[in-house]
Subunit: 169 residues, 2 copies
């Protein structure tokens, strides 16, 4: 194999590579790809990321994506959120203890800034003796699109592709 033939699977020096290296993880093509996609589409499922990563790195397996995400979450460069009734979602925004609004109808997710900024931003009135270190807040409601849709056709039951993560970024 000549040097020209060697596929440059990873770009060793980039902001993405740096943030991976800085966490003590090896820089690999799947990891760069997942991180890149995660920037463009926050609140994505592993499955969704897998499809997007495959587009630019065809050989990647779903297990690799799960592995990458577990490594990222463990290293603190990505965050896993698990809204009720939906598969786990991932985002790069970490360290600011922000929260989420989820649409009850289409499962779109948006970030909500935390007023305090650091965990736990809320403390329970009676903690039952627990040593609380995090307060996780999930708001549930109707996104603007679904408000419009239900107002236009209140009884039409126009199926809104639930859990599609539509418009979540």
């Amino acid at each position: 194999m000549t040097n020209a033939e060697r596929v440059k699977v990873a770009e060793p020096s980039s902001a993405l590579a740096d943030s991976i290296r800085a966490s003590g993880l090896k820089v690999t093509a799947p990891r760069l790809a997942v991180l890149r996609v995660l920037d463009q589409a926050p609140h994505s499922t592993a499955e969704r990321l897998f499809v997007a990563v495959r587009a630019e790195l065809p050989g990647t397996s779903l297990q690799a994506v799960y592995g990458v995400l577990a490594a990222f979450a463990g290293a603190g460069i990505a965050r896993k959120i698990e809204p009720a009734g939906s598969p786990a979602l991932f985002e790069r925004r970490v360290g600011d203890n922000h929260h989420h609004i989820v649409c009850t109808r289409c499962s779109a997710v948006r970030d909500v800034d935390c007023a305090v900024g650091e965990a736990p931003c809320l403390t329970p009135a009676h903690d039952s003796g627990f040593a609380v270190h995090t307060a996780e807040v999930t708001y549930w409601g109707l996104c603007p699109d679904c408000q419009a849709a239900t107002a236009a056709a209140p009884s039409t039951l126009s199926i809104p592709a639930p859990l599609s993560n539509k418009g979540a970024r």
Copy 2:
């Protein structure tokens, strides 16, 4: 079949039966059993309830328990909570919009009264146009038992039967 032989599968007049009937649901033996168990062991999984219900009503199927729980949740006489990383839990306490503390180590769950009392008890700073109707708060921390255990053996890694729902009542 004589009248004496007829198995009284349900007690037609009881507080439990009344609360089922009041929701427009038929009163059946599995429903009474689930409701009774749910009183004694809040924050139980469907599986756990299934085992307990079986003890007093041996013929009951797991699907029946799922069906009962779905009916109860739909009718508003039980609530389903889904902490990250754990199967769904159920409780009878409804209508007061209370929250939960979950132990990071052993998954024990306790109720936390909501300071405000009605949903949404919290409103986001920027709602992104969402019509918010609920704010769900989950506190994460170490329960008293696990604080003691980690203090006594900080590095021993004594496996604490995670997700066992131990002591959750």
